[in-house]
Amino acid sequence: MMDDVLVMQGVTRDYPVGGAFAKKRTLRALRGIDLTVSRGRTLGLVGESGCGKSTLAKVLLGVEEATSGTVLVDGHPIESYGRIERAKLIQPVFQDPYSSLNPRMTVASIIGAPLQVRGEGTGDSRRKRVEEVAGEVGLPRHLIGAYPSQLSGGQRQRVAIARALIGEPKILICDEPTSALDVSVQSQILNLLHRLKQELNLTMILISHNLAVVHHLADEVAVMYLGRIVEHGPSQAIFDRAHHPYSSALLKAVLPPRPGSRLPELGLEAEFPSPLNPPSGCPFHPRCSNDDGTTCHEIDPEPSGTSHTYRCHHPDNFTQTAAQDQAPAD
């Protein structure tokens, strides 16, 4: 039986917007997230910008607090951990390796910072551990004394990963870990993450808008739309038979670099709505090709399904209601 390292129950996060003159409003970045991740699994979190996936990452990191709901890490609420205990459990890897490393610190001191902050070990033992981890992530030894400006994008991302791993966390939160990198470098980082996840039995949250990356690493996929999870299930199930029309559209939007591939018709109407003013009923209805004009406008669908859940009145790839929009990918 696998144990659940990360449990989120009804997590919401609101931001007040508007200042002295504008009317104060509430931006509901997360609108009730229920999510469970088991030890050693990788959850891919996908969605467009503004869907709340980065807010979710910040809540999980403890950098921001949930407005309501509970986040359980290793069985205990995240607020019950101190700064340092929390850091021992959860570590981030960010998107932009150019802004995630302090330009004034050497690679060695960046990687060793978590140990230093905790006051663990002596200078010598820390240095040894830094070299060990740097080797583990494939960072050449001679770069340990270098500054970030002297490294390439791929090397910087390795430094960021080394910093995250040096304290042996249980959970790694990767926020678009490869989208700032060139493709030939991206593949190295994907290989590395995959190897680390297996060797260290890491639980990983992989946030990405690139479904190819998610497909490559994730065991489960959660699709987010306007602050909630609209579909969640095993990676293979979602990539084979996505039920929510939004997930299908995202899947179709992947452009394979293969001869003869054509630009996909996504069937997504309109633009991403403002999170300040989400549509009534099913929040996806203004863009949905399965919109029925009545139920979808009035009733917000509840999650259905067991291991593979989705929030939709008229799911795709599902007996009679399947839509016209169903030609398999080109």
Partner: protein, 298 residues
């Protein structure tokens, strides 16, 4: 390790700070300005070795001796003497001490206040930012000279008081610049990373933010240094600054003002010294701004 990413390997890793220094050393105005400032500092420190005259000793028989380049000048008093027969060159050297002392001390005080406020406002945002902004606004509404005048009139004048008054008044530019620099940094991912590895707020402020705003900080410091020197001169000129028997350049100008039409060199000499010092400080500040801006793109 095989052939992975070995090319850009630096032979010697230079810290960004060192690289900035290297760039600065290739900058002409840094050299020119730096040399002048350094020369003035050395002259001030070594004043007793440079001249044997005491700036305070009066010799009424030797009043108003003109400088050496005029007909009646003598090498004994290179820049002549003033209305009380004190050696003008000695007064200039010892006056530099006071001017520089006040300049550097006030920049230390105002820099500390302004940086602390600016970093807090920029990093914490929200209420802290609002309150600090309010304080900055209040400070900006106070006319510096007028406040100094009132304080000196109420408490009386002394060097310490002067440093405190100017230092407590000139922190606004530090606060404003540091605040916006910090705001830009606060959203960098390395700050979030630092929080995520469990760093304390203090560590984030001192290890992650402060080292990365030194560039703008030094530039503001150079501007404020010049500003403080000038302000001291103005206050001394108004009779509210340095009091005799201490000397400062502003005081020298003040004491010579009655001789403006008869012995213009008495005003020109300390005036030129002031202009030179401030010009040199600004040159250095400009150079530092030039070499710190392209940082990170290297």
């Amino acid at each position: 390790m095989t052939n992975i990413e070995q090319t850009t390997a630096p032979s010697v890793a230079l810290s960004p700070g060192r690289m900035t220094l290297h760039r600065a050393l290739r900058h002409v105005s840094f050299w020119v300005g730096g040399t002048i400032v350094l020369a003035i500092i050395l002259a001030a420190i070594l004043a007793p070795a440079i001249t044997s005259h005491d700036p305070a000793i009066q010799d009424l028989a030797q009043r108003y001796i003109p400088p050496v380049w005029t007909e009646k000048g003598s090498w004994d008093h290179v820049l002549g003497t003033d209305n009380l027969g004190r050696d003008y060159f000695a007064r200039l050297l010892y006056g530099a001490r006071i001017s520089l002392l006040i300049g550097f001390m006030t920049v230390l005080i105002s820099g500390a206040i302004g940086t602390a406020l600016g970093v807090c406002a920029g990093y914490f945002g929200g209420w802290a930012d609002m309150i600090i902004n309010f304080v900055i606004t209040i400070r900006l509404t106070l006319p510096v000279v007028l406040v100094a005048l009132v304080v000196v009139a109420l408490v009386g004048s002394s060097l310490t008081l002067l440093v405190m008054v100017i230092g407590l008044l000139l922190w606004d530019r530090f606060a404003i610049v540091v605040r916006s620099a910090t705001q830009q940094l606060a959203h960098r991912e390395y700050i979030t990373s630092a929080a995520a590895i469990g760093s304390s707020t203090w560590r984030i402020l001192f290890k992650e933010i402060l080292p990365n705003i030194t560039g703008p900080l030094i530039v503001v410091a150079s501007i404020e240094l010049a500003h403080a020197v000038l302000l001291e001169a103005s206050l001394s000129f108004l009779g509210l600054g340095v009091q005799p028997p201490q000397v400062s350049w502003g005081l020298m100008v003040a004491e010579a003002k009655s001789q403006l039409l008869f012995r213009p060199w008495m005003i020109a000499v300390p005036g030129a010294a002031l202009v030179l010092l401030i010009f040199a400080i600004n040159l250095v500040g400009d150079a530092i701004r030039d070499v710190t801006t392209p940082e990170g793109k290297a």
